[in-house]
Symmetry: C2
Subunit: 236 residues, 2 copies
């Protein structure tokens, strides 16, 4: 359960930003999606300038509202002042990347709505996208039942991985054990997106090969009435 | 990129299990889904008995194929011999829980296809579900670009959280800052599942309130022809 939070009045700009609905933030106003990958290019937001500090330091450089401060204190930071932070695509559900957050990183994410992490190698904060401009625009943040693991749920402006891949997870263990090399197109595929991929391939096959090779999906795609009757079964 | 793996012959039972497609494993044969939550109750599998050891110990108690051993060695385990392991629902994309894996835990997950972690508090392996029987049946495992973060992509047999919630992530930071208490029904909602929830609520409203309160979704649900024409726009 969440620790009770003091009902202090909302005063600081950081807190006001944290209390605004994500969609009403002009920096995160929806632009046309690029489709299946779930990217939405947005205008970059000025990112808060935060003084570097150790992972355990309090976010002194941010004007932190007491409510936000209480929430930050309720997180079970480890002995190094860190918690696991997972960035997830709000549209596709894809896990984009995983890093670590300290108090300052979480405070910055709450206020700027740009996924921000603590780099253990550089001992400093970093906002995903500060170099590539591929920010992850955070719609919501979740803590787990133990309050030591964080999800940044957001919309990426572009590929998240430094390799240019949509997400950092494209190396299947079972593929590797079968001798396949990792392939950035081989992203973690949940059922709906695997299905979408199959339907897209069947549509392409209709164009390139005609309807020669039998497939139930092709049959549905070529017969609107049959397709609608099937869809109605699922909807009703 | 994945480290090249030696092409040793497949010999051990553990490795054979690792190379079998998930769906062909009798322990993970599909049973009817319980719906939106994406649970599938399956027959429990006997879980490998693994001798307790430190997080850094090699999985000596498992007969590990050289291919699997090479893959385990390619993971960038931290100084404690651990990597972050995230369990994700293959159907809904929901992040179910996050723990840590050591070499033994990953080896056990590869061979048994039951999500297995290393408990830092108990200094031992634990397979999610060994007490509750709510196993997470692993379809695939992904490593990230740095090979220090793991996704177990699978189907949960039931709620994953020890509280009985579907996932461990039900505490929204922004809800808490607005004074709302955490609520296990308030799971991380990706766009498609938010949409599904809205459509379900509109359907319920039609039954309980009639079509009095205007809503575009209700209009579509009450007019099959209009609904089909809209769906065709998205499909074509």
């Amino acid at each position: 359960m969440a620790a009770p939070l003091p009902r202090a009045p909302v005063s600081s700009p950081a807190s006001r930003a944290a209390l605004c609905p994500a969609r009403s933030n002009p920096c995160t106003a929806a632009a046309p999606s690029s489709g299946a990958l779930g990217w939405r290019r947005r205008q970059p937001c000025p990112v808060l300038s935060i003084a570097p500090g150790s992972a355990r330091s309090t976010p002194a450089a941010l004007a932190v509202d007491p409510k936000v401060e209480a929430l930050l204190d309720s997180v079970k930071w480890d002995v190094k002042g860190l918690a696991v932070a997972i960035a997830q695509n709000v549209d596709t559900g894809a896990i984009l990347m995983q890093g670590f957050a300290n108090k300052e990183a979480l405070a910055a994410t709450i206020s700027t709505r740009k996924a921000t992490f603590y780099s253990r190698s550089r001992s400093s904060l970093w906002t995903k996208g500060e170099t590539s401009m591929n920010f992850i625009n955070v719609h919501d943040i979740f803590l787990d039942c133990d309050r030591d693991s964080i999800i940044y749920l957001g919309t990426p402006d572009g590929p998240t991985c430094h390799t240019g891949a949509e997400t950092c997870y494209y190396s299947s263990v079972y593929d590797a054990l079968q001798g396949s090399k990792s392939n950035q197109e081989r992203q973690v595929a949940t059922t709906l997106y695997s299905l979408e991929d199959t339907i897209s391939r069947r549509k392409e096959e209709i164009v390139t090969e005609g309807s020669g090779k039998p497939s139930w999906t092709k049959k549905l795609l070529l017969d609107n009435q049959l397709l609608c009757s099937k869809i109605r079964i699922f909807l009703c």
